[in-house]
Amino acid sequence: MNSSVFFGWSTIAYFLAMILYIGHLAFKNKPVGSAATAVTMGGFAFQTMALLLRWKEFAEIGNMGILRGVPLTNLYESLIFFVWCLILSYLVIEFKYRTKSFGAFITPIAGLVLAFIDISGMSKNIQPLVPALQSNWLLAHVMMSFIAYAMFAVSFSTGLMYLITATDDRKDPAYIFWTVMVSVFVIVLAAMGFDYLTFKLSIKGQEDLIKSYLFRASFRSSSFGVSAMSFAVAAAFTFAVWRFAGGLKKIINSFDISAEILDEITYKSIAMGFPIFTLGGLIFGAIWADQAWGKYWTWDPKETWSLITWFFYAFYLHSRLMRGWKGKKVAMVAVIGFVAVIFTYLGVNLLLSGLHSYGSE
C-alpha cells in the first residue's frame, strides 16, 4: 500500500469532518459533534499512517537511514506535515477546552491544503537528499519549525476570531484591520485561483505558477482594462466585507466560546510556539548551517525572515506587558505575526528567489 492512498482517505475524512462540524454548530446536535470528532481522528490516523509510510519509502530510496531520511524536503511534504500538526493541535484544544467550535474552521483549512496539493499537481516525487541536507539536524530543525508554524496558525485563527467578537464599530481601527485582512486573504486566494484557471496549460508546476504567473490574470494583467477592473473589484469586495462583516460577530457569539478563552488560546499557542520556534527554527538551524557551511548566521533571506518572524512574536509577548495593549491590539499583533510566518515559509522561496533570479522580463 503506498502513502498517497492514505493521504487521499485523510483528505476525504477532513472534508467530511468539516461538514459535520458545521452541522454541529448549526444544530447543536451532540451525536453530530461526536461523529465530527471521530471522523477527524480517523483522518488523523490515516494521515499518520501515510506519513510513516512515506518516511519509510523515502529512507529506503536514498538508503539514508531513518533519522536522515526525513520526508520534509519539499513543498509537498512540508505542507502535509503542517496539516498533520494543525489537526493535532486542534484535537488537543478540543479536548482541553471542551469546545468543538474551531472544528468548523480548522478542518476546512486542512482539507483545502490537501486538496490544493492534489489539484495543483505539485511534485510528489521523492527526491534523494543533496549533500547539504544530509544532517541529523534536519529532522529536528524542520520538524520543530513546522510544529511551531502550526501553533502560530492556531493563534492566528483564534486571534482573528477574538477580533471579530471584540469589535463592531466600523470606525474602530481593529475592525478595519481584521476586515481588510480577511478581504486580502480571500482576494489573494481568488486571484491565484484565476491565475491557475487561466494559465493552466502553460504552468509547469506549483513554483512556476507563483514565480511567473502570479496575478497575471488579474492585477498584473498585460491588459490595462483587466488590471484596473481587478483593482476595482478587490476594492469593492473589501468595502463590502467592511460594511457587512459585523454579522460574523453574531455567528461567533453563538458558539460556546468566550473572548477570554480565545485570548487565552492565542497566548498559549504562541507561548508554546515561541520556544519551539526559537530552539528548532533558529538555534538548530544555526547549528546546522554552522556544520554545513561554517557560518551559523549569514543574513540570507530565509534566515532573516525567520528572525523577523521571531521579532514579531517577541513583540507580541512584550506588548501584552504594556498598558492598554491587552485585548484587541495584542490580537492584531498575533494576526500579523502569522503573515510573517507565511512569508518565511512560502514567500521567501517563491517570491524573493524569483526576484533575485535573472530571466523573465
Binding site: G62, Q127, P128, V130, P131, A132, Q134, S135, E264, A271, M272, F274, P275, T278, L279, I283, A286, I287, D290, Q291, A292, W293, G294, K295, Y296, W297, W299, P301, T304, W305, L307, I308, F311, F312, A314, F315, H318, S319, R320, L321, M322, R323, A340, V348, L352, L355, H356, Y358, E361
Partner: protein, 487 residues
C-alpha cells in the same frame, strides 16, 4: 506583570529619564519593529551585489523606469542598504537593543530577586481571601486529624508544606511554594541574547571567514579572503583526493568527499576525509566542504589510474595519460589509452558523446592488441560491469586524478563556543519562562462546628489555569478523606 507607566510626581533629572526610557518595554517594542522592518528591505535588495542587479529588482517590483530605479537605488545605497547588516545604523540598532535589554533587566531584577529569595511566609486570613485561586471545604474530623490529611495531600501534589500557628482563631496554617526560581527565566532568556551578541562580536574581531580551492595533489599554507587577501594558516594542507559520489544511475550528487592531510614542519600530523556536514578542524581553523570544480586548463595534469588484472589473477596498478600504453601483467596483451571523456553518454543512434565537462561519468577508450586481433572499448569508472574484457582479463578504472579542485570554506571563530553557550542558556531560559511557574499555596485549618474548616488560597505567576487544576485535585483528595473513608 508590571506595566510601564509609573506616576511621576517629582521632577526627574536627565540621567533618570534616560534610564527610564531604556528600562521601558515600550522602547523594546519600538526597536523590535525597527529591526524587523529594516531587515525586510535587506531581504528584498540583494546584499553585497552588483548595483545593476538591485536596480533590476526595483524595476521588477515597482514597475518603474530604469532611471527612476537607478536614482532610488542611489539613495538606498547611500543609506547603506546595499550592505545593511553591517551598516553603522543597523549595528547601532543592535547596540541600542542590547542596552535596552541590559537596563530593563537591571531595573527589574532586584524586585524579582527578592521574590525568588525571600521564603514564603504564612498569610493572614483576609489576604488568603484575596489570592487568585480560593477554595474552602468543611471536613468532619478534628483539626489535628485534618492537618495531617492536608499535609499528605500537599505532598501528593508536589509541595513540601511548612507549618505555622494561625494568627487569629485557634488553628494552624500550612503553606508551601515551588518554582520560585522560574521567575528568573525571563532574565536568563534576556541574558542569553547578550551572550550570543558577545559571541558574535568576538567572532567578528578575532576570527575570519575565507575560502580555499585546492587542486588534487596540491598543498597550501594560506586561505583567501573575499578580495583575494591571503591568510596564513600556520600549517600546510594537502588535498590527496576529491570525489563526487552519485545516487545509483543518476547524476544527482550523493556526497562530495575530500581526502585531506595536514602537515606541520614537513611532517604529516593529521589525515581526514571531509564531506558536507562533517568538516576538519586543526588548531582552531575549520575546513568545510563547500564546492568543487575543474582546474582551469588542467587537462594535461590529469592522470588515469587503472588496476589491470590478468585472467590468471596477476594484478598491477598503473598511472597513465591519454596516448600511453600498458601491458596486462603476465600476458602479451597491450592496451593503449586512445581517448578520455569526463562524462560519457550515448546518443539516440548509440554513438558515444561527452555531455558535460565535469567528471560526471568518466570513461576511457582503450585499444587492446597483441593477441593477433585488436579489440576496443569504453571503460567507465562508475560502471564496473564495463571493466571485464572478453579475454577474461580485467581493467578497473579507479580514478581520474589531478584536474579537480575541492572548494572549502575556511573559518576560524573563537566566538562560536560562546554563541552556542548562549543558545543553551536561551533554551533553559525559555523553558523556565513558559513551562514553569512560581506557585504558592496557603491552607488554613481551624475548628468549626465540631469538624474542621479548611481554607485554601493559592497563586501562580503564570499558567494559573493548570495550577487551578492541581488545587482542585488537592480539594478532591481532601474531600475523599483518609483512604476514601470519612464521608
Amino acid at each position: 506583570m508590571e506595566n510601564d507607566k509609573k506616576p511621576v510626581p517629582t521632577p526627574k533629572n536627565l540621567t533618570d529619564r534616560i534610564w527610564d526610557l531604556f528600562a521601558s518595554v515600550k522602547l523594546a517594542v519600538v526597536i523590535f519593529s525597527f529591526i524587523a522592518l529594516t531587515s525586510i528591505v535587506g531581504t528584498i535588495l540583494e546584499q553585497n551585489a552588483e548595483p545593476e542587479k538591485n536596480i533590476k529588482i526595483l524595476v521588477k517590483m515597482f514597475h518603474v523606469s530604469h532611471d527612476t530605479a537607478h536614482s532610488v537605488y542611489g539613495v538606498l545605497e547611500r543609506l547603506g542598504f546595499s550592505d545593511m547588516y553591517h551598516a553603522w545604523w543597523f549595528v547601532s540598532l543592535l547596540l541600542l537593543f542590547a542596552a535596552n535589554l541590559i537596563i530593563c533587566s537591571l531595573d527589574r531584577l532586584p524586585r524579582v530577586w527578592k521574590l525568588v529569595r525571600e521564603p514564603i511566609r504564612p498569610m493572614s486570613a483576609d489576604l488568603i481571601e484575596k489570592t487568585s485561586i480560593k477554595r474552602s471545604i468543611a471536613l468532619k474530623g478534628k483539626p489535628a486529624q485534618a492537618k495531617e490529611l492536608v499535609q499528605a495531600a500537599l505532598r501528593e501534589i508536589g509541595f513540601k508544606p511548612k507549618e505555622a500557628a494561625a494568627e487569629e482563631a485557634a488553628g494552624t496554617q500550612l503553606y508551601a511554594e515551588t518554582g520560585n526560581y522560574s521567575r528568573l527565566g525571563v532574565y536568563i532568556t534576556h541574558l542569553s541574547i547578550l551572550v550570543i551578541l558577545a559571541g558574535a562580536i568576538i567572532g567578528l574581531f578575532f576570527g575570519f571567514n575565507a575560502f580555499l580551492n585546492l587542486p588534487e595533489g596540491e598543498t597550501s599554507s594560506v586561505a583567501y579572503k573575499d578580495r583575494g587577501k591571503e591568510i596564513p594558516l600556520g600549517f600546510d594542507l594537502r588535498c590527496d583526493n576529491f570525489e563526487v559520489a552519485y545516487y545509483n544511475d543518476s547524476d544527482m550528487p550523493k556526497a562530495y568527499k575530500s581526502w585531506l592531510s595536514v602537515y606541520k614542519n614537513g611532517k604529516k600530523v593529521k589525515e581526514q576525509t571531509i564531506v558536507v556536514n562533517d568538516p576538519l578542524t586543526f588548531e582552531g581553523i575549520t575546513f568545510y566542504q563547500s564546492s568543487f570544480g575543474l582546474v582551469p586548463n588542467g587537462q594535461d595534469r590529469g592522470i588515469i589510474i587503472l588496476r589491470v588484472k590478468s585472467a590468471a589473477g596477476q594484478s598491477q596498478d598503473i598511472q597513465a595519460k591519454v596516448g600511453d600504453t600498458f601491458t596486462i601483467p603476465g600476458t602479451a596483451v597491450q592496451g593503449r589509452i586512445a581517448d578520455f571523456s569526463p562524462a560519457l553518454s550515448l546518443d539516440q543512434a548509440g554513438k558515444p558523446f561527452t555531455y558535460d565537462e565535469h567528471l560526471k561519468n568518466p570513461a576511457v577508450f582503450i585499444e587492446f592488441s597483441g593477441t593477433g586481433q585488436t579489440t576496443t572499448g569504453w571503460i567507465l569508472k562508475r560502471y564496473p560491469q564495463t571493466w571485464n574484457l572478453p579475454s577474461g582479463d580485467r581493467v578497473e578504472f579507479l580514478d581520474y586524478w589531478g584536474i579537480e579542485y575541492t572548494g572549502m570554506q575556511v573559518r576560524k571563530d573563537p566566538g562560536v563556543g560562546i554563541v552556542y553557550l548562549g543558545c543553551i542558556i536561551m533554551a533553559v531560559g525559555l523553558f523556565m519562562s513558559f513551562f514553569m511557574s512560581h506557585r504558592r499555596i496557603w491552607v488554613s485549618v481551624s475548628e468549626d462546628k465540631g469538624g474542621s474548616k479548611i481554607i485554601v488560597g493559592a497563586s501562580a505567576h503564570r499558567n494559573r489555569a493548570s495550577f487551578e487544576h492541581k488545587v482542585d485535585k488537592l480539594v478532591a483528595i481532601l474531600s475523599a478523606g483518609p483512604k476514601g473513608g470519612n464521608k
